[in-house]
Symmetry: D2
Subunit: 132 residues, 4 copies
């Protein structure tokens, strides 16, 4: 695990079942990835302005335990590079009991001027951080 970010559930994220709506986990995971990059001086928004779009190619999520109104949780991340893919392994644990709520894998790729390619900025960054 190379990065973690704390959250609290916001009531508007819960649906009529009284639990966090599934799509919001994708939001939590995206925000975690982007904050991780931002704290390492890589801005998703600035990349876009430079015609480098960092996009998700494939997502897998396992919903283990639902989060509810008032819950606190931590979102954890590790990642590796495999060719042109940047693979993020992400997990969400409730706090303070650290029970696994959700685990996910996001395969991301870079589009530079609309073309699939590696991105030096990200490759250098990944080299620094990847867990072997």
């Amino acid at each position: 695990m190379v990065y973690s970010l704390d959250f609290v559930v916001r009531d508007y994220e819960c649906d009529l079942q009284g639990i966090v709506n599934n799509a919001n986990y994708q939001h939590y995971y995206e925000h975690t990835r982007h904050q991780f990059l931002l704290e390492n001086n890589i801005s998703f928004a600035k990349l876009h302005e430079e015609n480098i779009d960092f996009v998700v190619a494939r997502a897998t999520m396992s919903f283990k335990r639902p989060l509810k109104s008032g819950d606190k949780f931590v979102s954890e991340l590790s990642f590796v590079q495999e060719g042109i893919k940047y693979i993020f392994y992400q997990k969400i644990y409730s706090l303070p009991d650290r029970k696994l709520c959700n685990s996910a894998q996001f395969d991301c790729v870079c589009l530079c001027n609309g073309k699939l390619s590696t991105c030096d900025l990200l490759t250098d960054f990944v080299k620094k951080f990847s867990e072997k």
Copy 2:
């Protein structure tokens, strides 16, 4: 009323109270304005690409009756121009009983290259449609 658009409530728009979350009414109203413009050949996205940003300056919404899972409704719109402001009067009625669920006013303005100004495209359009 110069435009109307039919909707059904989507379950993910409901919150833990089992009713449509307040913020989604802003989504419904925005989508209605944008579809109205689009059907008159004005694309919010294309305007943005031409550095013309059509933005809300002020919003007022009255929540009369909550919409729930499974509800159908119609979103209606009329508007006038007052100087640099484009004022949209919008209402949402449940279907088929046409009970008033929400009424709203959105004061919009144009930013051309970041500067507040009238926009010929919109002014011509408003002239054509405004209800006196």
Copy 3:
């Protein structure tokens, strides 16, 4: 394919990259499943009131082509039951060109009074509809 539902992209569903944000595909897919059930007299909201919660256990999505402002698309669905799992195969195609934009699998389960179990209502329904 046993069910399809037409959509238009709503501008608020697009993010700063100018394309539909990933999490919204989960919304599209959920709305498609729920409308499909609703048109067969199974209400996700009513199930919840009867303490039957139909939840996603696992989701896999492949992002092939991004949807953009103004795009129309169709969301298609088929499904099978495997033990206690209800597996939905879902695809999104842009319209009118029917290019594949997203394909997904959602493994759903039923919680009756909080306990994992099959649900007669759904099992009967699946029997009727499943594609062999």
Copy 4:
């Protein structure tokens, strides 16, 4: 001002104009109200389970300066009770420069078992906190 809560903009909250979509301000304001109540032992979710629904009757928002990707901001709140209405005055300032981005008023009411009424729990609470 009786309560304040710090936020960072999440990229998925920005729309194709590259700024926070209007509806998300309602989310920020709602989360601020609910966290304020929660830190004073009033849970929006628990109120709902006891058939007390705290709802917005009217909302007014002025959009002064847009928030963007990477921005930090503080959401501030004060409130008064007027008869059956609980009126929240809320403001959002960018950080660290404290420029006013959005100001709003939310008139809330209580539905006890579906009937409009004052709620002892909230009235006692308001008495303690209201700014004169």
